[in-house]
Amino acid sequence: MQVNLTVNGKVRQADLEDRTLLVDFLRDNLRLTGTHVGCDTSSCGSCTVHVDGVAVKSCTLLAAQADGCTVTTIEGLAQFNANGTIGQLHPLQEGFKECHGLQCGFCTPGMIMTAADLLSRQRNPSEHDIREALEGNICRCTGYHNIVKAIQWAADHTPAPLLADHHVWTNEPTTEPAAV
């Protein structure tokens, strides 16, 4: 079937088998392999992306169900320069590096996308809030300690352009440089 959706700011169309999962469409068709598959029961959260601004496990959704939606993956989270290079990382990306919130990196994209959803709803979550929000994401490397720290760091360093209605950078040329 024909699907039509906007992924990381680009309109993407494809003719897919009905049963194609959103995660397989992202990974196999669009080669956006930052979204990972860590389980087959929608339990681990490695595949988390944003669909219309809300964190969703992309292994739980058919691509067809996302037809007409706007999808953001880990590859689309930073702010990009006009030539496509990364201009400024999202505060969560910075925070995960700053606080050693990742080791093998496999769960990291899902963790960051889930945390971005949390920060869009809650500007200053407590440690408890953060741990509750991560309940659907499994990490085997970090014991979550530094992931919690990374999200707290990001909450403390989220610049003004991210405080508006949206919680991801708009990947359009921006005139005001964001101060971190």
């Binding site: 880990i74 989270l77 994209p109 085997r140």
Partner: protein, 791 residues
Amino acid sequence: MSNKFIGQSIKRVEDKRFITGKGRYTDDIVLPGMLHAHFVRSPYAHARVVSIDMTEAKAMPGVIAIYTGDDVADINGVPCGWQVNFRNGETMREPKHPMLIPTGSTAKHAGDAVAIVIAETKAIATDAAESVMVEWDELPAVANPAEALKPGAPKVHEQFPDNTAFDWSLGNPIEEVDAAMAAAAHVTTLEFVNQRVVPNAMEPRAYIGAYDEMADKYTLYTSTQNPHLIRLLMCAFVLGIPEHKVRVVGPDVGGGFGSKIYHYTEEALVTWASKQIGQPVKWTSDRSEAFLLDAHGRDHVTKAEMGFDADGNVMGLRIKTVANMGAYLSTFAPAVPTYLHGTLLQGLYVTPKINIDMTCVFTHTVAVDAYRGAGRPEATYLLERLMDLAALEMGMDPAELRFKNFIPKFDGVNEPGYQTQVALQYDSGDYAPVLERGLEMLGYNDFRAAQQEAAKTNKLLGVGFSTYVEACGIAPSAVVGALGARAGLYESAQVRVQPTGKVSVFTGSHSHGQGHETTFVQVVADKLGIPMEDVELVHGDSDTVAFGMGTYGSRSLAVGGSAIMKSIDKVLEKGAKIAAHKLECAEGDLTYDEGKWTVKGTDKSIGFGDVALTAYVPHVYPAGLEPGLDFSSFYDPANFTYPFGCHIAVVEVDKETGKTTLKRMIAVDDVGNVINPMIVDGQIHGGLAQGIGQAMFEGTIYDENAQLTNGTYMDYCMPRADDLPLFETDRRTTPCPHNPLGVKGAGEAGAIGSTPAVVNAVIDALWSGGHQVKDILMPMTPERVWRAMNN
């Protein structure tokens, strides 16, 4: 040498690709013409293959090939890499794991494969595999190792009717230990299960085999911890193809924890199939397969006894354990319950008499092999459970009992290493300070008062201690060779100084989360006095790295880092010859610091980059010296390294529901010198979570047919963010006396010390409430804790 980077929490170099979604794991790789594989697997733990009908599957559009056991009869089964003999000298029983179970033979654990289906897409391969009709004759099966030893138990291998892989013992003669126990004023006895757990690296295993007909060369991309070891095993023992015709690449790998050390059948099959078909073949495990097929960890049934004199001095330790090996002996499996477990039973204590009696058995389950800590968590678990329980039974303080029995301080330089009763000689140790610091962080005196108050309420408080020592830096080849290893466990490193003075470092270690691209570069940049940006670490590709034994056993820096140090020494030695020639002085007149050679007492100097350029443009050059500045080294450690530490857990137990909440987890670890404290802390955190996971949440559940009934994340309880507190960590530093960096290894420590601390804490909480229970089966679910309080 400068000290700009060593000891600093430098942010990780590798992070950029992972936080932007640009990591490159095996399943992310697409090769031209790549096909996809799916396996037809046994739904039973023990069943005979009566017939396989592939008619329908083969006719499906997009199906390229289906191979069964008959097609791969010429491929050897997967061998074991470590030989342990029976006590009577008989060789261990070593049935090889066949590639595919042929018609007429039996699958010996659920998930054993009978056919590989290769198709144009993953979906077609999956559909076709479901259309392969296998007629099975289900047979009785056994999963519990103690049950497997009973007369009449279902046989795993017909030729070994007692299901015994081997038996083994270590330590003082049993008569001496029996005498020590008989003379003891108090004997603490504990019969317990160290349950089977699943490693659960977040990246499922994935392999791509690709054959290049023109070059007659295979490439295997594999989610492995040790590419060269896989190449060696697969080429020399399984497929029988020459090693120089195989390239093995371990790209970004999403965690291992032991489970990605071993050579698995699927690796050899996709490699083999890619030549049969002439196109690359990819297989990616799903999580259900990972639960069924990745080697598991632990699985001991133990009776442990510790004898004390009237003053609380340990007099003897007597251990009888049955260890589950699964259906086949995995790569390192025989070493885990033996030389990585029995040899650690001295612990931190001066126990004069120790004996372990071990029986390793086959069951109808997937193999058990090294899982984070590998044998050392099991040893620590039994020792530390015994110590806390003995303290409760004898009415002594568990911390005081430990102080009383600690081996006195020894640095391995001025004082000799400590010779244990169980073969090993510890390199250096200073045990009291880690416990002292742990008690300080805990606020021990205040804690006991709070515990007494809590005992009057519905929420009991408990504290559990664990002081551990482990053997890391695996391993001195001659020692492990004498103990049955079929490989050397050295490491290689090449330091290639480029003509411009930039440096490429090739290591046989493999990073799958440990941060080698940062830590190793910190070491090299400091030793050469150059910026970190001028150094690149290359790992994970057998075509670029000369050789290597990979990453496990907390060995990367202690062994791999030492190999790098040897190559750096060679670079600086040759560099000094070139510098002396250029500066027209004797080598002995030079000092090297901050990236340049200086003539002592003068301001005449030459930089590292100039020397490098001279080495490759040798116009003005010492006579007889070869051009180039590129050195390889192998480092074989003189001994294991022996990190140690103190882990303390504080729990709250709800009397009404039995629910346990981990309130505090304190870890004071001494892992020798530390290169990157941030990364070491991260390793400790992750280990703690896995050790806590075993104590509180994780464990396989097999039914009477040896079916794993909790083989998904819906059923197997992984520790999640809201299950754990922030960890409280600190360090003490006792350098390793026998490697150039003085490092001991930090990868496994967290998982080794934490499990008994958490269980001890729950037992302590229950005793504070008047419930004098000796043991609670792990994982300590609310039901089990409630039953322990309510009989």
